[in-house]
């Protein structure tokens, strides 16, 4: 099946929803697609027990009748501006005049002893599971890692009946306090932080504390924590751990967009109006670097306007965007990772969990390619998304994620889909 539109928006998180709305407001024919069954992306993910947050509901309702919504459409390949999406009903090709990349971010996982035990999950990952109905009532959950996302995750977990035994932030108390002292400049965030504090009343929040190892035989039984006072064991049923977010740049790379590789993790490079290095392809939200919800919404609107050729409307939002983007720098500065976290993985620690590759197997590998060729590291189903980001963070080699189709594992039938049939037909 082939569909045509003026603007295709990939990703229906806050950035994508705003982009679709803005583009449609100028009369453009917009298709909004997401791999997930519902709108919302990460932060606005639908919660089976508690519904969709009001702001998300408003953003979704604003699209009704104006934007064509395609759920469970995962873009796995592209040929120029033609996108190939895998759906439960087969492959769909979308021929787009302009494209907005709003693919968001994923969590950064760092390897440590026994981090692959069942019961160890990403902080945002366990949060998402809770919203999808995973039973957590009465379970002891320890939340650890870094950044404000830990609080959001803990609040969701608690709301779903989990006993949050503690939140362990690796950044020092001084840094976290300095961060909090700046928050008044972003009132919406200060408000959100205050609400989270209320929701988490009674839950210990420890700074300068991190998980050094997990323990258990076939299932997590507890973790070893380390802080200024030394190490101690804490029992728990789940560990929800995340060290911040990594932009999903793979689709942009596949479309040929230049990436900014100046930091540890690549982000999509875009100009002041959010146009990438490929004319007609725009980017918004976390794909441009981690800056949170408000930036994602503004950038979504900007990119949507720009993709519909409404340059003035896009430009009008630029100052607001700059203000929100400043938050990204604040986050990065105050939640910078403790160098000790980079030494938790020892020679025997598995770094590539798809292929069971220990860190020691990479000792002679100067780059991701040689790691794949010599040790199968990054050759599995996640295509190096998890280990690639971790190894970049550990200072081994830069992350060089997938940029070839299929962007995600996809059925061979999808890759052989009709619209891509060659012009010179082959015999039956």
């Amino acid at each position: 099946m082939i569909e045509r539109c003026d603007v295709a928006v990939i990703g229906a998180g806050p950035a994508g929803l705003a982009a679709a709305h803005a583009a449609a407001s100028h009369g453009a024919r917009v298709i909004l697609l997401d791999a997930q069954p519902r709108h919302g992306g990460q932060i606005w993910r639908h919660d089976v027990a508690h519904g969709t947050p009001p702001a998300a509901q408003a953003a979704i309702q604003a699209l009704s009748g104006k934007v064509e919504w395609r759920a469970q459409h995962q873009v796995v390949a592209a040929d120029g501006r033609r996108l190939l999406a895998e759906t439960p009903d087969g492959a769909v090709e979308i021929d787009a005049g302009h494209v907005v990349i709003a693919t968001g971010a994923r969590e950064l996982q760092l390897p440590f002893l026994n981090w692959t035990l069942p019961g160890v999950a990403g902080a945002g990952g366990l949060q998402a599971l809770a919203k999808q109905g995973w039973p957590l009532a009465g379970k002891r959950v320890l939340v650890a890692g870094s950044g404000p996302l830990l609080l959001a995750a803990a609040a969701t977990l608690r709301k779903h009946g989990a006993m949050v035994v503690g939140i362990h932030e690796q950044a020092s108390a001084a840094r976290v306090a300095a961060f909090a002292a700046q928050l008044w400049r972003w009132p919406a965030r200060a408000w959100q932080a205050a609400r989270l504090r209320v929701a988490l009343a009674g839950v210990p929040y420890r700074c300068g504390s991190f998980v050094q190892a997990a323990s258990g035989d076939t299932q997590l039984r507890g973790v070893e924590l380390r802080d200024a006072d030394g190490t101690r064991q804490v029992e728990c049923d789940y560990l929800a751990i995340g060290y911040g977010l990594v932009p999903n740049v793979e689709l942009a790379a596949l479309l040929g967009c230049a990436l900014d590789r100046s930091g540890t993790h690549a982000r999509v490079h875009a100009d002041d109006l959010l146009c990438t290095s490929v004319p007609g392809v725009y980017a918004a939200g976390e794909a441009l670097g981690i800056a949170g919800l408000a930036a994602a919404r503004i950038e979504g609107s900007m990119a949507g306007h720009a993709a519909a050729d409404a340059v003035d409307a896009a430009r009008a939002l630029a100052p607001a965007r700059i203000r929100e983007r400043a938050f990204a720098g604040l986050l990065a500065r105050h939640f910078a990772l403790d160098p000790r976290l980079r030494t938790l993985a020892t020679a025997d620690t598995v770094v590539c969990r798809c292929e069971d590759v220990p860190l020691s197997a990479l000792d002679d590998c100067p780059d991701t390619r040689s790691a794949r060729l010599a040790a199968r590291c990054g050759m599995g189903a996640c295509q190096g998304r998890i280990c690639g980001a971790a190894l970049a963070e550990l200072g081994r080699f830069p992350n060089d994620g997938p940029r070839r189709p299929p962007l995600f594992p996809a059925r061979l039938a999808t890759l052989a889909a009709l619209p891509f049939r060659p012009t010179t037909e082959i015999e039956p």
Binding site: A374, A381, P406
Partner: protein
Amino acid sequence: MNACDLIVVGAGIVGASCADEAAAAGLRVAIVEPGTIGGGATACAMGHLVAMDDDPAELALARLSLDRWEAFADLPEAEFDRCGTLWVAENPAQAAGIAARVARIQAAGGHAHALDAAQLREIEPSLAPDLCAGMLVPQEAVVYPPRVAQHLVLRACARGAVLHHGRRVRQLDTHGVTLDDGTVLHGPVLVATGCALPQLVPELPLRPRKGHLVITDRYPGKLRHQVLELGYADSAHGSDGSSVAFNVQPRPTGQLLVGSSREFDIDDPAVSPSMLARMLQRAFRFMPSLGELQAIRAWTGFRPATPDGRPYLGAVPGRDGLWVAAGHEGLGVTTAPGSAQLLLDLILGRTPAIDPAPYAPSRVLA
């Protein structure tokens, strides 16, 4: 003085095999490789060890090589898996040709036998039901080529070879080479640079021939043999601008590696969605259930193709002390050990294991 008995330029599977052979013969060897060892075409290959029987010369080189590959059967790095090769016929004409192919392979010292449609279905139930016959070559195997190349280079180094890693040969000198950092090495030179041959030896025509491969998630037991369509040789040996042929391999991990495509005159290594689609549609014709499997990665590689499809193995006419081993197209993993033996036979003045004439570089300069 950087003097040696043989300077091997390029450490793909071919250069690595030659360096290993030369070091084993007691020569003082230097190896020059700018990138990852085995990181060129060798890293992109399927690693199928297979004899193609339509050209007697190529069959002789493949047989010599396959015998030598047996020495790697227990080497962990090689990931040697004797899955055998199953050739399948999609029409009576191909089926009718099987008897002659069996005879050719037997005559060259291999083992093969014909299968009827029922036997085909019995050994590979997931093949298309209308395939009418097949030919099984049970001794053939698959390996993991880049790690074999690394193993061979290490083994050569253990016998005294000197590896100039991260260095590229900038130019050939009268009696040696100059590296990109200015280092000069003296001695006879063997160019084994695969597709990059024209940069150093422009008089030998060579074209890169692009191929695509896709690998799936793990499906242990889904397929037991490497399966190719009997028409594969027409794709491999034809000189069409582009062609596809069914060629699927079960990896020891349970993954399936699906090929194949061939394209001339393209230097962009990007995966082409339309070529991928065409290749997969061809594969579904032979194995319909492939469509449901999850693909996890696709890549491309370039085969070094000579005008007649045979590699250049031997002395370069008119150039003193210059040898070449390059141009193995889609069979260089298979034929690397035999190529190395033949080349060292020639360099050392031993009686060649097989007739070297069909591979002599002089054939294209006449």
